[in-house]
């Protein structure tokens, strides 16, 4: 684990809870407590909430989130602790002595009900006209506590204007319950720092710098705040109405590409346990909805490996052979649009380190309105390209002015897993029961290398499989092609492979220890960038960064809720699916080789691919005017 230097301790992340002892066998390592007259033993420093969860005692929570530090502000989890005058919040109270706890006394139930009533009194709108209907933690609490009226009233007018400015994230503070999960997500968890509490007392609200619209501040559109919002105060900018319109328009040829991460998670929207991919079922469902063609984003993931891999080898050659000092190494991946915007804002002087390769989504868009249009004999103006993504930032990405290389808007709409699920439900389809089917030609089913892009370390693993083999002529020296150092959820991973017995073309790499770093979540990206700034990455060649925790499977467009455990299961689903695929290396994807033979004839990083598949970046900086 890389140690963070100069670690900032944000207000909400101070050590409010005592650390548990590591060795519980020591005297004083555990403590006996009584919860609802049942005696249990827990490690010293366990919170009341944790102790209750271990013993199947349900405590309602709202501001608490497993990914985030403790806030203790909503007060819904209050319990009675004997000998204490006031009620205590279970989420924040560390058990340090043999206390007696009661979790459901009259005082407790009344207090919780009052708190819920108070929150509802200021929560604008009705449940039936809300996109979080049936997946809202406030609604669940209201149900749990039998709320059937508004004893303290119910707000009739909007207090805040809805912020629709961002292509990715919409903020409606009228529905905010001030749990500050978004603040903790943005400042502590992602370390982007867009949202904080503004004003005080009853005027307190979550806001941006000077309450500016989201599109004018340094929001990177990662959407992690959406994933953790208990209500509908935060949501993604939903284009499904326009997509329906396009589907219903007989003149339009509507195609969709689907990324692996939403496929591994969309089942959750239909009540399925996390950990199963619904790729084949989704293909059928999408055709039934009315999409004219269903393509696999993994195809362009494979293409990304070819482009980005070639770019890396070119940089290496320039640096090692031509001794070109201007070449920037390590090369950073560029497929996460949240990460791209992060570096544009926070490290604008380091944009040259980013690979110029577009993300798979945008590569696909550019190909669909050029190559595919020609192949299918269609007017690109009539093609509507939709991308099913795990991501909120993809909505921003497809609207970037740089993304019109086909002569049209390359990708018309980015759609999240949540919005896709809504469309599927609207079409009267129950996804888990769909028969399976394959992707459409001319892009077909892609390689497993493209598939694992969804989990953190996946791009690195895919790239290594191809690069190592291109350079040495042999498969990567890992059993079953599973490059273990790339996998797992550690914030920053570092590893290396030695390149030996290289083929003639890559003799200049003989004996080079190919070093790589993988980071996920922008808080970890920040660590890596600070390492780069200090020159600690001088001997590293390739860095993968994903803006979201866990990589795309933890993306801001994925089903709600999220937790480390859920993300782990989604990653597992991807790795399991991958293991069964016949082709697991990007360069072996025959559809890709075909494309280079028929269309991108000057090869990876050639002239045409530079026009269609590569891009440039904007020095945005942090200053907000």
């Amino acid at each position: 684990m890389v140690k963070r230097e100069n670690e900032r301790i944000p207000v909400s992340q101070q050590a409010h809870v005592v650390d548990k002892p590591k060795d519980l066998t020591n005297i004083g390592g555990t403590v006996s407590v009584e919860i609802n007259e049942k005696k249990i033993t827990v490690p010293l420093g366990t919170t009341i909430l944790e102790a209750c969860q271990l013993n199947q005692i349900h405590i309602p929570t709202l501001c608490h989130h497993p990914d985030l530090c403790i806030a203790g502000v909503c007060r819904v989890c209050v319990v009675e602790v004997e000998k204490m005058r006031t009620l205590q919040t279970a989420c924040s109270f560390p058990i340090m002595s043999p206390i007696k706890i009661k979790t459901s006394t009259e005082m407790v139930r009344k207090a919780r009900r009052h708190i819920i009533d108070l929150l509802l009194s200021e929560h604008y709108g009705e449940c039936y006209s809300c996109f979080r209907n049936a997946n809202c933690e406030l609604q669940s609490l209201a149900k749990e506590y039998g709320v059937d009226n508004y004893p303290f009233g119910h707000v009739q007018e909007q207090r805040y204007e809805v912020d629709n400015s961002s292509a990715a994230v919409i903020r409606d503070m009228n529905k905010c319950v001030l749990c500050k999960r978004c603040v903790r997500t943005c400042i502590d968890f992602q370390e982007v720092g867009v949202l904080e509490a503004i004003n005080r007392g009853h005027e307190t609200h979550v806001g941006t710098f000077l309450d500016k619209p989201l599109s004018e501040v340094i929001c990177i559109n990662c959407g992690q705040c959406i994933n953790r919002c208990p209500t509908a105060a935060l949501r993604a900018n939903d284009p499904s109405d326009e997509i329906w319109k396009a589907i219903d328009d007989p003149k339009k040829h509507v195609v969709i590409q689907t990324a692996p991460s939403p496929r591994a998670a969309i089942g959750e929207e239909f009540g399925q346990a996390p950990g199963k991919s619904f790729t084949g079922e989704l293909n059928t469902a999408l055709r039934r909805i009315g999409f004219d063609r269903v393509f696999d984003t993994n195809f362009t993931a494979d293409l990304t490996i070819m482009e980005e891999g070639t770019e890396l080898l070119t940089r290496l050659k320039k640096a090692l052979v031509d001794k070109d000092q201007s070449v920037k190494l390590p090369q950073f991946t560029s497929c996460s649009p949240g990460w791209v915007k992060y570096i544009e804002h926070f490290y604008p002087d380091y944009l040259d380190y980013l690979s110029t390769a577009k993300s798979p989504q945008q590569m696909f868009g550019a190909l669909l309105k050029t190559y595919y249009a020609k192949e299918a004999n269609l007017d690109p103006a009539d093609i509507v390209t939709v991308a099913l993504m795990p991501c909120a930032a993809k909505k921003f990405e497809c609207n970037r002015p740089e993304m019109y290389d086909s002569g049209f808007k390359d990708v018309d709409y980015g759609l999240t897993a949540r919005e896709m699920a809504k469309m599927i439900r609207e079409a009267g389809i129950y996804l888990p029961e769909m028969p399976t089917s394959h992707f459409d030609d001319p892009f077909g089913d892609a390689s497993g290398a493209g598939l694992i892009f969804g989990a953190t370390g996946g791009v690195m693993e895919a790239a290594l499989r191809t690069a190592y083999e291109l350079v040495t002529g042999r498969e990567v020296p890992f059993e079953n092609l599973v490059i273990e150092p790339c996998r797992g959820f550690e914030g920053v991973k570092q590893a290396s492979v030695k390149l030996e017995n290289c083929v003639e073309q890559y003799k200049f790499l003989e004996g080079v220890e190919l070093k790589f770093v993988v980071a996920h979540g922008t808080a970890n990206a920040k660590i890596v960038m600070e390492m780069l700034r200090k020159g600690e990455l001088n001997d590293v060649h390739f860095v993968e960064v994903m803006a979201c925790p866990g990589g795309c499977i933890g993306g801001g467009g994925q089903p709600i809720p999220t937790s480390a455990e859920i993300r782990k299961k989604r990653a597992q689903a991807i790795y399991e699916e991958e293991a069964t695929l016949p082709i697991r290396k990007s360069h072996e994807n025959t559809y890709v080789t075909n494309l280079y033979e028929k269309f991108l004839t000057d090869g990876p990083c050639g002239k045409l691919s530079h026009k269609l598949l590569h891009t440039h970046y904007v020095k945005r900086g942090k200053y907000i005017s």
Partner: protein, 157 residues
Amino acid sequence: MLVLEKNALSEEIEKLVHQFGKDRSALLQILQAIQRKHKFISDFAQQEVARMMDIHPVEVNSVVTFYAFLCTEPKGRNIVRLCQTISCDMAGKEKIKETVQRELGISFGQTTKDKRITLEFTNCLGMCDQGPAMLVNEKVYTKLAPEAAINILNEIK
């Protein structure tokens, strides 16, 4: 804001950061110093403080908007705060309020056209035994009679 003004402000903030330190615990002192001199903390100042202290601008904004004596909008050269809490209220705050408003031609919460005075209410000044009390910048005036209050206001530049 002119470039020159910006530069001057940056320089000033740099000096403050140097004086009070880069630690987060110095933030309030730095903001207070800016407030004292400029009577408000502009968006540029907030961002400069954030940059130099290596925190997010929204965090500075969050702190500024929390404290009643810090503000983000320009105010008058003198800030007059009349205590509105119970003892001063009972001692005749309302009369002072009306007199002062009439004299200056502005309501509480407003600034005179010549930017000389901003009128505000404040909570308990700790002068409850000598109310009504009023704070002019950091100076406190007690046992105000309407006439006295006007004299005080008319004397400040």
